[in-house]
Point group: C2
Chain length 495, copies 2
């Protein structure tokens, strides 16, 4: 059988060895094996362990040499001191790539551990076996059924989002949390200490990967700053690169050093990096999810002039505040739009000016649709945000109000699909009482409806606004870059 | 029967009239009546309606005059043009206070509506009947069983938090959302257009109210700036005043004008206001809840030096980032603390430096407790934040891990009660998939456990940090004010 290319072996291995799996379920290797079986890896899996004859129903091999046929990928979860020998065995067995989950290397800061990592890097180079890790979770690729160790419940559907993460924990949390928001992945890599393959290597692959349209990253530190900058700058012209860079202050840098051993760098350098590459900057897992979500759904161009449509209750006031605080504008609508809106709104308690206030939560769904359409046609407006509170759950005669509410909340989903301008939905989060779990359940169902309709939905106006600003800033950068290219102007920033 | 004092009639009426209740459940007055009955108002309720003999099981009166005995409070929900005559009837019937729910007054910006509001104010002044509103939801006071129209599900328990809100919608949402966080109220007032009783009148009452220890406010605009500033400044020395001021930009101001008719004012004036009064400034409903929560739970003084304890997974890195971005510090621990922590931590994958990384989520609960205690004794540290991910739900053999996790997550709650320094818990939010509702349910149970233990818990590190910074800033202001008073120094700021 022919040996697969490096990245093909990483993402689409036909066979893999799990080295360090045992009968003990609390061990990392066993956990990995169990997860792969449960998730449904499509190739052959060979557990390797000197003692066990069978692990989790699979025949186990005492030695790599005993495995019949080709092995494309090795997952290594043996204690750190044993890793170099295992890696050499893998190379001898002609395995092209190894994922080293084991930690206890340069991230500890201890001399012997740092040396051990250098030894791995040396073996990798000399024996021609490529390494992901050490101190990482590995790869999730739904198309091949490959998943990170905790990823039994990740989506089995493929999508167009790739994620590169130095942290295994955050790779895991992003995959898990993004699932409910309808974000689907092409490839996810947790690469840890990056002693061989690093963030830029993966980026270069993803740039050409047909399945990937959006790239997210969690970065503690990078291996080669200049190469990374150039790569991000180029890719970002074609595919948005959304980066969560952590550890720019003292405590964060200290945490990084002991987490993946990376060297955090100065704040100013990263400020310049973001300006120069146009990469989208986010500051938390939540913002990462929210931003990927809006990039996944919105295709049309979008400017900063927002129309807000609130279903009463003063939600227009703080929505306008949130927009304006974030650098968006909430402009006055044209006289024509205001006149048209007045015809659709109740005479008292409502407002036809921007923010548009429907006055009460019992607006007719068909009027709600018309109001959204009318506002979207105003030439002063680039995008629309509509804010809905899930009120009826907190009323007597819930059934009466609830059936009405379900029709109401369907209106933006129905109309949003054919508007010429982006529509963003805010369905306010439900209370956290244990007794209100059913309201949360209904919230989730409506959220799923919006996911299916391809309309970004957020639980707070602040989250909607942050994501929208990130989306717009990317488009503004693109526009500037294109204009500059046309004029043959030099870039405005340099490091 | 003796006539009650103004505020006694507002918060503890022995009898009230609901004017405008009818057989139609979708009408505001009927909704109010229904809510009061369901919530369990402790006094007598008299529906007033010219047509109906009985409404929701209560005898209805065609005229206020027909009601036997004393009426302390009137709730008015008749159409705007009818309000002046009804208010005169109330005054004639010796009712001391009226809540006017009806909208359609100065908030519309239309001349005749503004005139109508002036007429109400005039009647109030001339006939000696005090008015809350118009365009408001009214009063929630669990001790007397009084509640806002949508407040059937509010807590029946009393607490020490008061809330004053120009917006009825936000009064409602705050009461609803705060309930699940264990926030309990003394008094809540939605006062709308404030044509008679305004924010400062209520503040003066709350300053002396024994049941109120913390005051929250949602403000669109104030009636008398100087009097408001002086009152907040004085009260804030004794009871924290937490203010969400909206509408500081163009769109927000426009929204306010059509919402409660208030005049928003210049940003700079409000900046100066917050500096001079030391009132705690928040920017969203979420931040308001989070901030009230921390004030409700933390009694001990607190400084800006934070120890972070993460249960693995790189959560220390972004927690340190979030702290440092917000102006908190994550200092190096003393050598002694680090040595003691090393004894309690696994040798690999963990960190005894701040942020402290437990290395994996399967730390023994008793070690976790000792680690928290040890960190809290470090003289470099003022407060502790511990971050836990609800991981086991996403693992095979969930039961095995879950029973362990429940013991683990109990550790901070058990130890937090007797620490000399504040402990803040972050239990990361669960994914939003419909199938993961059970994880959300478990999250809520743990959250309730922390509410009961009096330890503030947040679903993200960002929310925890914002609340902590608000709490610390208030204490710093207090300290400065006291130091200044001792030195007889003039204040540093003036408007």
């Amino acid at each position: 059988m022919e040996k697969l290319g490096k990245f093909e072996a990483i993402f689409y291995p036909k066979s893999l060895a799990v080295i360090g799996a045992s009968a003990d379920i609390t061990k990392f290797g066993t956990h990995t094996l169990n997860t792969l079986i449960k998730f449904g890896f499509k190739g052959r899996i060979y557990p390797v362990n000197p003692h066990a004859g069978e692990i989790l129903g699979l025949k186990s091999y005492a030695d790599l040499k005993d495995i019949p046929g080709c092995v494309d990928l090795a997952l290594i979860a043996v204690p750190a001191p044993a890793v170099p020998r295992v890696l050499e065995d893998c190379a001898a067995r002609s395995i092209g790539v190894a994922v080293i989950n084991t930690s206890g290397f340069s991230e500890t800061g201890e001399e012997e551990c740092v040396k051990l990592e250098r030894e791995i890097a040396k073996i990798s180079k000399e024996k021609g076996i490529r390494v992901i890790g050490p101190n990482c979770f590995g790869v999730y690729c739904p198309a091949s059924g490959l998943t990170l160790p905790p990823g039994e419940y990740y989506s089995r559907e493929s999508g167009n989002v790739a994620f590169l993460s130095q942290s295994g924990g955050y790779a895991d949390r992003f995959c898990r949390d993004a699932k409910g928001w309808g974000i689907r992945f092409s490839k996810v890599v947790s690469y840890g200490n990056a002693c061989d393959l690093n963030e830029t290597d993966f980026l270069e692959y993803l740039a050409e990967d047909q399945e990937t349209k959006i790239i997210g990253m969690y970065i503690e530190g990078v291996k080669s700053g200049q190469r990374f900058l150039q790569t991000v700058k180029e890719i970002n012209q074609k595919k948005p690169v959304i980066i969560w860079k952590v550890g720019l202050d003292e405590g964060g840098r200290r945490a990084i050093a002991s987490h993946t051993g990376a060297l955090g760098s100065r704040k100013e350098i990263w400020e310049a990096f973001f300006k120069q590459t146009g990469a989208v900057r986010v500051n938390s897992l939540e913002e990462l999810i929210d931003t990927v979500l809006i990039f996944q759904h919105l295709r049309v161009p979008c400017g900063r002039r927002i129309a807000i449509i609130g279903t009463g209750g003063g939600s227009g006031v703080d929505s306008a505040d949130a927009c304006e605080r974030a650098g968006l504008s909430v402009p006055v609508l044209s006289t024509k739009t205001v006149e048209q809106l007045r015809m659709l709104l109740p005479p008292v308690g409502a407002s036809a000016q921007n923010p548009i206030d429907l006055g009460n939560p019992w607006t007719s769904p068909s009027d709600y649709k018309k109001i959204i359409e009318t506002a979207s046609l105003d030439p002063q407006i680039d995008a629309l945000v509509t804010v809905v509170w899930q009120l009826p759950f907190f009323y007597s005669r819930r059934e009466l109000f609830w059936s009405f509410f379900q029709k109401l909340v369907e209106a933006p989903a129905a109309v949003g699909k054919y508007l010429r301008k982006p529509l963003i939905m805010v369905l306010c989060a439900t209370p956290t009482e244990a007794e209100m779990l059913e309201a949360e359940n209904e919230w989730r169902k409506i959220k799923d409806r919006y996911v299916a309709a391809g309309i970004p939905l957020y639980p707070t106006i602040e989250r909607a606004v942050k994501a929208t600003v990130n989306f717009i800033a990317y488009q503004e950068y693109e526009k500037r870059t294109k204009a500059r290219a046309l004029l043959h102007c030099p870039p405005r920033w340099s490091i």
